[in-house]
Symmetry: C2
Subunit: 411 residues, 2 copies
């Protein structure tokens, strides 16, 4: 269960604007121009294929991918891991940093690992460079001994798909109408995470129920929030996501990509628009970024995410530290209580400082809740994108750097 | 060696403004109102004390602290670790997250560990709660067997200092005129990192040389940058730090605290001022945040940090992936070359998109370079703070949340 609470200053949400945003994304869904709305159902077939795989005794799942091909997978693994007994180790090869690649390579146990090469276009420079290195370093025999443990996840007809067919590698397809940063519930996330032992069926179920509930008109808070964020955007141009759990950090990174890359665009009127996402972790960032929120320019609003019940008991013992007796009030309380009290106090201090805030509370960490949280943010992004009149699903701004890179390196 | 390159649009820097900012921080230093300027020299005594310690065979350094009592330590450990053979393992207990605390507790080998309780005020709620838990969980005998392996780093006369004296624990003092987020070169960072095997003498040397060079008038680029950031601040309110090395991520987090908490203030004219820091990692965040920089609102400028020579060779093998031949141009090049080419191409694409950028290049990762980089950002922060007419060194905005927390929890 997710609980949504808003502390926005009272505002008259225009019903017409809400209707228009909703109509836009309904049309995206119904026309199948945008495919992520249906992934919770469409992706079930991937789980069936996973069950049919004969992988033998593997203990590691190695993912080669970057951006939309890794952020969502890491987000789900990180938060669900403490609640998933016997989950297999996941290793991520993302960045072109030689130190990290060497370190990760040293951890791979070739005979116990399966490998996912994930790239929507099929030719992402980081992923292909790392894949070549992996082949050489581990002496992978793609046509022989290792053929059944190397997988490709890519667009239909991509160069990676050609490669997979050449070596007769098992291949999973990313639907054409699903962009990279909206792809975590496609094969991209579902297949490696299911193999690693995460309950992706329940996660898809939670996601599907939320999408259905939204289109059934039962999640109007989401429409109201989208319109509010849009209407305040000329002043409140920064959206802070303040998550009170260390293991939500990767989810905030996934949010930063989704929000920043989807909305930061040249709109239909040739104007540079967008909202700047910031991911914070509580209580840590109360000691870092909070001062700026409270006393800095009033250009930010804040969403708090909390977990009501961490389901891991750790009580602060009844010890008096000689000299520091004033902290005794915390004795016999749990860290679960402390971190949530910190979230609540920080929320109150933000609201009292006249800064807009809202809150999302998960009753506990379950696959269903994480699935719902993922589609919540995807739907919110699509709605705000519709209001901004941008193409929410492309990223033309990153092409120039790629062109320059190829030119510089080929010379 | 650090190399600084600016791609700012030509501007007339006012000499008078530069002089006034410089005069302000010179006065802070000379009057000893602000103490961090002298830490590179003043902190050497901490290294002498470390050498005199008899710790026996320890393999772990456990740090209990949050915010300014952990961010800088983590930043230095993270980047220097691959270049520091035989460094001891460092474990950080920061957040009030029960999952993380339980996980870290399970890794501590009591007989091989030494413990640093770090808190400027001495009563930080996260640190004291965790310290109590540690005492109970490990059955620490503070007055007996474990007395020589538990240390306090805190302000003179703080409640933690009282506690340390009561148990006759070895104590290191944070100078009164050094704020938490400027304290990494005090005992806070120097002592645990030196014990863990990091060359803090060289780091202090690099820091000291840079501070001296600056006050000798040899780093005028820093003054020019401060004035430029200040003069552009009403439009460019977001300062992105884009670091091209995974292990610089903790340094970007340290920067976010330093910049956000120092400058986000109510100024002398009762105005909410400040600049919003964002830390990115390249090439990863080219696939996430870059789109927003290029096509979104023109409210950002970007500083690129690169490492010329990672001193770890990893060459992309000369392998042709059937179907993906178009990536062959990268074969036989190193990842070191690739990641720096990506940084350069991204910088060019940003500048061509009419966005202000500058670059800091480290010839390699050395303790001296990291020391210089740290004081570079501290000096920049002080200069911009002087221009904004704020108190750069306090954080009054976070007090309200603490008051509410105490009130809520005591009821």
């Amino acid at each position: 269960m997710l609980k949504f609470t808003s502390h926005y200053k009272s505002t008259q949400n225009s019903q017409a604007i809400m209707d228009s945003a909703l109509a836009t994304i309904k049309e995206e869904r119904d026309s199948k121009k945008v495919g992520y709305y249906n992934l919770p159902q469409d992706s079930l077939v991937n789980l069936e294929r996973v069950e049919a795989l004969e992988l033998g005794d593997i203990s590691q799942v190695v993912v080669i991918g970057i951006g939309g091909s890794s952020l969502g997978i890491k987000a789900i693994e990180s938060i669900l891991n403490p609640y998933t007994p016997n989950a297999k180790e996941m290793l991520f090869l993302e960045n072109s940093d030689p130190i990290t690649i060497l370190d990760t390579l040293s951890k791979i146990k070739k005979e116990e690992a399966c490998f996912f090469m994930i790239s929507k276009s099929g030719s992402t420079i980081e992923a292909t460079s790392i894949f070549k290195t992996l082949i050489a370093h581990l002496d992978l025999d793609l046509d022989g001994a290792d053929n059944k443990r190397v997988f490709a996840i890519t667009d239909k007809g991509s160069v990676l798909s050609d490669f997979a067919q050449h070596h007769k590698l098992e291949e999973f397809t990313i639907p054409d109408n699903v962009g990279g940063r909206f792809s975590v519930l496609s094969a991209v996330g579902v297949v490696p995470l299911a193999i690693a032992g995460y309950d992706m069926k329940k996660l898809l179920l939670g996601a599907g129920e939320f999408v259905e509930s939204f289109f059934d008109g039962k999640e109007n808070h989401l429409l109201e929030k989208a319109v509010y964020l849009y209407e305040q955007s000329s002043i409140q141009s920064i959206n802070v996501l303040f998550s009170y759990a260390d293991r939500l950090e990767d989810l905030t990174k996934w949010y930063v990509q989704l929000w920043g890359e989807s909305l930061g665009k040249i709109d239909t009127h040739q104007k540079n628009v967008g909202l700047t996402p910031i991911g914070l972790i509580g209580a840590v960032d109360q000691h870092s970024f909070l001062q700026l929120i409270i006393e800095g320019p009033k250009d930010k609003n804040v969403t708090f995410i909390t977990i009501e019940d961490f389901q891991k008991e750790l009580v602060i013992p009844d010890i008096t530290l000689k000299g520091i007796e004033k902290t005794n009030f915390i004795n016999n309380k749990s860290f679960n209580t402390l971190i949530n009290a910190q979230a609540e106090a920080t929320l109150q201090s933000v609201v009292e400082s006249d800064i807009d805030a809202d809150a999302i509370s998960l009753d506990s960490v379950t696959a269903e809740n994480i699935g719902a949280l993922i589609v919540y943010y995807e739907l919110l992004t699509s709605l705000v994108g519709a209001l901004f009149e941008v193409n929410t699903y492309n990223q033309p701004g990153v092409e120039l750097g790629k062109v320059i890179l190829y030119k510089n390196l080929e010379n």
